[in-house]
């Protein structure tokens, strides 16, 4: 072919905070095919989990991904609880909802900012990240750390949230919501933004299902699938409807996440209103034995942990399937036909988390 060139995109690229390489084959300016090359972040966590004790693994799996660390720990702890036949106390379940929704909220803020940066809107990026700091302060106060909060434990949570802090969370959420009302319309209604996102990186509903998409990528195609529907932690008691959009392009994915921000705010409020009193930690007894699958919803989509334990204090196998791992094949299907300048926007539209993907 005459004008075909292969351009490597990454591993170090200003748009990507993390290293991934896409080999893009171009015909003039149009992408013909894309092949992802990963392996820059691979550590071998699944093997390390076989070496460490199952209680220590909580801290290991938290560090699969720093953005949604709590949700990783939650998924792991729920799996172990299932194997040991214990149940977290009602209060712990609600606390888990509060922390996971706050994590979703901060992750979506982070993504909306990076997305704005990808289409060259730097001041919007700054605004989202400024608002995100309010949420980071909550983590700092309630959990003792900004990013990796280490509050989930097998059998419940390690920390309680005091009434003072609960009120503080509610106040912060009011402020966050006020700021969202100001900034989200820019993403959703602005002419230039729409120009760069509507109709870009489109996949059909059939493709999304066939390629095993997860989370907002799947829901942007009208598939109402959200693992929170399974009713883990206290989600079953909070009432929950997944957010869906129908267009399956970058704009629809942004819209899903934007609406999920409001949903998370509502869920935290509801959880705080209904928060029961009581113990936060149920003491685990015995050793985990058997095989179990645990699924939770991460900001990026469905997270699946497969555990196999043989009754010793080490696991036989821990398998982590993260949402970005599932969203890479849809990405490969989204890129052909788009223009080179749209590649960063499309790559970011799946909210890639490479450290999750490679573990």
């Amino acid at each position: 072919m005459s004008n075909r060139t292969v351009i490597p995109f990454g591993p170090q690229h200003p748009v990507l905070p993390e290293p991934i390489q896409l080999k893009l084959e171009l015909q003039d300016e149009t992408v013909v095919s894309a092949i992802p090359h990963i392996g820059y972040v691979h550590r071998g966590i699944e093997k390390a989990a076989e070496r460490m004790e199952y209680t220590q693994n909580v801290f290991l799996v938290e560090r699969v991904c720093g953005i949604c660390s709590f949700i990783h720990a939650l998924c792991y702890c729920q799996a172990i609880e299932q194997l040991q036949n214990i149940e977290a106390s009602p209060r712990a379940k609600y606390l888990r909802v509060i922390w996971s929704e706050l994590h979703r909220l901060h992750s979506h803020h982070l993504w909306l900012g990076l997305f704005a940066d990808a289409f060259g809107y730097e001041s919007l990026f700054m605004q989202f990240w400024r608002n995100r700091e309010m949420l980071m302060d909550i983590f700092d106060k309630t959990a003792g750390s900004r990013v990796i909060i280490s509050t989930c434990a097998i059998g419940g949570t390690r920390r309680d949230i005091s009434d003072v802090h609960l009120q503080e969370i509610l106040d912060t959420l009011d402020e966050v919501e006020k700021q969202l009302d100001k900034t989200l319309p820019v993403i959703l209604n602005d002419y230039t933004v729409k120009k760069r996102t509507v109709g870009i990186g489109k996949i059909t509903r059939e493709q999304a299902l066939e390629l095993g998409a997860a989370g907002p990528v799947l829901r942007a195609n009208g598939v109402a699938q959200d693992m929170r529907q399974l009713g883990y932690a206290a989600y079953g008691e909070l009432g929950f409807e997944p957010v869906t959009e129908n267009d399956g392009d970058c704009y629809a994915r942004a819209k899903v996440r934007a609406r999920e921000c409001y949903q998370s705010v509502e869920l935290v409020r509801k959880a705080i209103r209904q928060l029961p009193d009581g113990e936060i930690l149920t003491k685990p007894k015995g050793r985990p034995k058997g095989q179990v699958i645990s699924r939770v919803e991460q900001p990026r989509g469905e997270l699946l942990y497969f555990l196999s334990a043989d009754g010793t204090n080490r696991l036989d196998r821990l398998r982590i399937r993260t949402p970005t791992f599932a969203n890479v094949p849809p990405l490969v299907a989204m890129l052909p036909g788009c223009e080179l300048a749209d590649v960063p926007v499309i790559v970011l539209s799946i909210d890639p988390c490479i450290s999750c993907t490679e573990r």
Binding site: I35, H37, I38, G39, H42, G44, E46, K47, E50, R51, L209, E210, L211, G212, Q225, M227, Q229, L230, R287, K289, G290, Q291, V292, I293, R295, E302, L304, F306, S308, A309, D310, G311, T312, N313, D316, R317, R319, R321, F325, A326, V328, P329, A333, E358
Partner: protein, 131 residues
């Protein structure tokens, strides 16, 4: 905590909704799952000493179903990426990290998905040291 008595590994209880299939009928089964519009979630490989156990996880309306094949070491497993393209990444991963030969993967990374030359192959296999 420190263990005073080593507990012997015991028989592991399976996850629900699991169906054992033979390697030869695997592709037909997977095709059937695709026809019934099941979403491919992922695959899991387990090293069981003399054979590999490979689990295929499918989702349908938040309900998980699994297929399980047992492959003796040294034998090959056909790729399902012709039916579910989404499987290409995880098949490459299993091939590279466990050393289970999977044939005809749609995009084959030739054992260099995660590791580069000079790294010991198949680090996830049970006979490899734990560090």
């Amino acid at each position: 905590m420190m263990e005073t008595m080593e507990i012997k590994p015991q028989e592991i209880i399976d996850i629900p909704n699991i169906r054992d299939v033979d390697v030869s009928e695997l592709l037909d089964r997977v095709k059937k799952a695709a026809d019934e519009k099941r979403r491919f979630v992922t695959m899991t490989a387990l090293d069981r000493g003399d054979h590999f156990e490979v689990l295929y996880h499918f989702d349908r309306d938040l309900h998980l179903e699994h297929l399980r094949v047992r492959v003796p070491k040294g034998q090959t497993l056909p790729s399902i990426s012709s039916v579910y393209l989404a499987a290409f990444l995880v098949e490459n991963e299993i091939k590279e990290l466990f050393g289970l030969e999977i044939t005809d993967i749609a995009i084959d990374y030739q054992n260099h998905l995660y590791l580069i030359e000079g790294v010991e192959p198949a680090p996830m296999a049970k006979d490899k040291p734990l560090e």
